[in-house]
C-alpha cells in the first residue's frame, strides 16, 4: 500500500503553507502524482532543499515569505511539467533519478568520504547534458586542436608502451589520461597545456571513480624515477594499493614506470604541437582570433610545419563530425 502523502511526510524543505493560497491544491496534485511514482519522492525533497539554499543566497534581505512563495511557484511549475508528460515518461525519469542517487551513494561508499564533491558532480550530470557539453566543446577550434594533439602524439606513444609490455593493457587508457591530467601544473587561464589537459580530463572520467587511496598510490608510482624502485621496501605496499585489476606487482612496476615516462614525454610533445599550431593560427593573421584562440596564449612558439598541418587535416578527415576541426582548418587557410 502506498503511504499517503501528507505535508509531514515530505516536510524537510517543504515551503510554508501560509505563503501560497493554492498550496493545498498543489499538495493534493503532488500527492496524486507521487502515489503513481513514489520514486520521485526523495527527488522532490532534494530539489526543494537545493532551491532553498540558492534562494536564500540570491534573495538575501527579502522577507522569508518571498522565498517560501518562490518555492511554491517552483513546486507548481515542476508539477505542471510532470503532469503534462505521459505516465511512462514520469516513471522513467523517476527511475533514472533514483538510480543516479543510488549509484552515487554506492560510489561514495566505495571511495570514502573525501570523494564526495567530485562524485556528486559526476552523478548530477545527466548523460544528455554531458553529450551536449562535449559537443559544444568539440565544436570549438581550440579544443579540436587539443583533441588532435592527444590523438596524434599521446595515444600512439601509449600504444607503443603497451606493445612493449602487453600486460600494461590491463591499465585502462582512462587511468593513463587521469594520471597525466593530474601531472599537469594547474593554471587558471586557458593555455595550450590546459587545453590538452582538459581533453585528458574529459576522457578520464573513469579514473575519478577509483578510490582516493588507489589514485594517490598510482600517482606516486606514475611520478617515480626508475632508480627509486630498486630495493624499495615500500614498493610492494604501493603496488597493493593499486587497483587489483591492473595487475601491477613489484616485478612489473619498472614497466609501469617506463610507460609513465613515455606518457609524460608524449604529453610534452602534444602540448608543444598544440602550441605550434596555435601559433600558426594566431600569428600574423588579420582575421580575428576565434573561440578559444581568443584566449589561448601560444607562448611564443614557432608556427607548425607543413607536415604537422597535413597531419591535422588527416585527423579532421577522420573525425568529420567534429565541427571544431572545420573551423580550425578554416582559420589555418
Amino acid at each position: 500500500m502506498t503511504r499517503r502523502l501528507t505535508l509531514d511526510s515530505i516536510r524537510p524543505g517543504f515551503p510554508e503553507p501560509s505563503a501560497c493560497p493554492d498550496g493545498a491544491e498543489i499538495l493534493d496534485r503532488w500527492e496524486s502524482l507521487l502515489r503513481k511514482v513514489p520514486r520521485l519522492r526523495p527527488w522532490v525533497g532534494k530539489m526543494l532543499g537545493q532551491q532553498r539554499v540558492l534562494l536564500v543566497a540570491r534573495l538575501e534581505g527579502q522577507p522569508p515569505l518571498v522565498i517560501e512563495r518562490t518555492l511554491w511557484q517552483e513546486l507548481a511549475r515542476w508539477l505542471r511539467e510532470f503532469e503534462a508528460l505521459p505516465q511512462f515518461a514520469v516513471s522513467a525519469i523517476a527511475t533514472t533519478v533514483q538510480e543516479g542517487e543510488r549509484d552515487s551513494r554506492d560510489a561514495r561508499a566505495l571511495a570514502g568520504v573525501e570523494e564526495l564533491p567530485v562524485l556528486a558532480d559526476a552523478a548530477l550530470h545527466s548523460p544528455e547534458r554531458a553529450v551536449s557539453e562535449m559537443e559544444a566543446l568539440r565544436s570549438d577550434p581550440a579544443f579540436a586542436l587539443a583533441f588532435h594533439c592527444v590523438e596524434v602524439r599521446l595515444r600512439p606513444r601509449l600504444a607503443s608502451a603497451v606493445e612493449a609490455a602487453p600486460w600494461l593493457s590491463r591499465v585502462p587508457e582512462a587511468a593513463w589520461f587521469g594520471l597525466l591530467h593530474s601531472s599537469v601544473p594547474a593554471c587558471p587561464l586557458l593555455t595550450p597545456d590546459i587545453a590538452v589537459a582538459l581533453v585528458l580530463r574529459v576522457f578520464s572520467s573513469e579514473w575519478m571513480t577509483l578510490p582516493a587511496e588507489a589514485r594517490r598510490a598510482a600517482l606516486r608510482l606514475f611520478g617515480a624515477h626508475p632508480s627509486e624502485l630498486r630495493g624499495s621496501a615500500q614498493l610492494d605496499r604501493l603496488c597493493r594499493s593499486l587497483p587489483a585489476a591492473w595487475g601491477v606487482v613489484p616485478e612489473s612496476a619498472p614497466d609501469f614506470v617506463a610507460a609513465s615516462t613515455q606518457a609524460r614525454l608524449a604529453l610534452g610533445d602534444a602540448s608543444r604541437l598544440c602550441n605550434r599550431i596555435a601559433a600558426s593560427v594566431t600569428s600574423g593573421r588579420r582575421v580575428p582570433r576565434q573561440g578559444g584562440f581568443a584566449l589561448i596564449e601560444a607562448g611564443g612558439a614557432v608556427p607548425a610545419g607543413p607536415e604537422e598541418l597535413e597531419e591535422l587535416s588527416q585527423t579532421a578527415r577522420k573525425y568529420l563530425g567534429m565541427v571544431g576541426f572545420r573551423r580550425l582548418l578554416a582559420l589555418l587557410r
Binding site: 543566497a57 587558471p188 582538459l198 574529459v202 589514485r215 578559444g292 584562440f293
Partner: protein, 306 residues
C-alpha cells in the same frame, strides 16, 4: 560595460564547467584535506581579499556592483567574508556586508586570509607587498602570521564576463550573438559556470596532483597544523626541485613559500629513519616522495600534538 568576445567567453565557460580551473593556489576554506574541508581547522569564515591591481577601470566598474549585490553573498555562504578590494595600497577594510555577517568576536582572533589575485596581471613584487603590509598590521585578525595567509590566482576576465552576464540586458545580447543551437546549453551553463568559478575561489574544486598528495600526507602527520601552513611547507619543498629558470619566476601561492625564493639553493637534511617510520604508518612512499615530505615536515617545524 566591457566588450565581451562571445566565442572566447563561451569557450571559457564550457572549459570551466568541463573541469578547467578558474582559480588555483593555496587551499581555500572548501579545499578538502584529509577528507574534510580546510574550514574545519579554525572555526569561522576565512577573510578574502580581492586584489584589483592590474584590473582595468572598466572591469572594476562591472565587478564592483556585481560583487556587492551578487558575488559577495554567494562567497559568504562559501565561508569567505570579503574585505574591500585592494588597488594600490594593501590594507584590510571589511565590506559593510561582511561586518554585518561576521560572527561575534570573529575579528578578535587570527583568521586564515586568502588573497584573490588576478592571474597573469600581478607584478612579481606584489607578493612581497602583501607580506610586508600584512606583517605590519597590528590587528588580531592577522596575528596568526604568514602561515595563515595564502594566495589564489583567478581568471579575472571570466569573472568580469560572468558579472556582465548577470545583467539581463548583457545576457540577452550575449545569447543573441550565440549560435542558436547553443542558446539552450548556454542557459544551463551560465549558472553552472558561475557556481564553478565561485567554488574555485574557495578551493571546492581543487584537484589532485603531486602537491595535493604531499599536502594530504604531511597533514596526516600533523593533523593539527592548519592546511595553509602545511601547504606552504609542501610548496616550498616542491619549489626547491624546480629548475633555476622556473624558480626565479615561480609564483608561490603562499607567502611563506615566496620567502624561499630569496635564498636558493637551500640545503636540506636527508630523511631520518624515525621520520621514515612515522610516514610509513600513513602511506607507502618511494624514496623521492619520502625525502620531499620530510623536507616539508622540517620546514613546518614542531607542532602541538605531533
Amino acid at each position: 560595460m566591457v566588450p565581451l568576445d562571445v566565442a572566447a567567453t563561451w569557450t571559457r565557460m564550457l572549459s570551466v564547467t568541463a573541469g578547467a580551473p578558474a582559480a588555483i593556489g593555496a587551499p581555500g576554506p572548501a579545499t578538502r584535506v584529509g577528507g574534510k574541508a580546510a574550514l574545519s581547522w579554525i572555526e569561522g569564515p576565512w577573510l578574502g581579499i580581492l586584489d584589483f591591481e592590474g584590473v582595468k577601470r572598466c572591469e572594476r566598474e562591472v565587478l564592483d556592483p556585481w560583487l556587492w549585490r551578487h558575488g559577495e553573498p554567494l562567497l559568504l555562504v562559501r565561508h569567505l567574508l570579503l574585505a574591500k578590494p585592494l588597488s594600490d595600497e594593501v590594507f584590510i577594510d571589511l565590506t559593510a556586508q561582511a561586518r554585518e555577517a561576521m560572527p561575534e568576536g570573529w575579528r578578535d582572533a587570527p583568521r586564515p586570509v586568502l588573497i584573490l589575485a588576478p592571474a597573469g596581471r600581478s607584478r612579481p613584487e606584489r607578493r612581497r607587498e602583501y607580506l610586508d603590509a600584512l606583517s605590519q598590521l597590528r590587528i588580531p585578525l592577522v596575528a596568526g602570521g604568514s602561515e595563515l595567509w595564502g594566495i589564489r590566482e583567478l581568471d579575472v576576465e571570466l569573472l568580469v564576463a560572468l558579472a556582465q552576464l548577470s545583467n539581463p540586458a548583457g545576457r540577452a545580447a550575449f545569447r543573441a550573438a550565440l549560435d542558436p543551437s547553443q542558446t539552450r546549453l548556454f542557459d544551463q551553463q551560465l549558472p553552472a559556470a558561475e557556481a564553478a568559478v565561485l567554488d574555485d575561489l574557495v578551493g571546492a574544486r581543487d584537484e589532485e596532483g603531486a602537491l595535493a598528495a604531499d599536502l594530504e600526507g604531511l597533514s596526516s602527520l600533523h593533523p593539527k597544523a592548519h592546511p595553509l601552513a602545511v601547504y606552504s611547507a609542501v610548496e616550498r619543498a616542491h619549489n626547491r626541485r624546480r629548475a633555476d629558470k622556473e624558480r626565479t619566476q615561480f609564483s608561490a601561492r603562499t607567502i611563506e613559500s615566496r620567502l624561499s625564493a630569496r635564498g636558493f639553493p637551500e640545503a636540506a637534511d636527508p630523511c631520518t629513519a624515525a621520520f621514515a617510520e612515522r610516514a610509513d604508518a600513513i602511506a607507502p612512499l618511494l624514496a623521492g616522495d619520502l625525502q620531499r615530505i620530510f623536507e616539508a615536515h622540517e620546514l613546518l617545524g614542531p607542532r602541538e600534538g605531533d
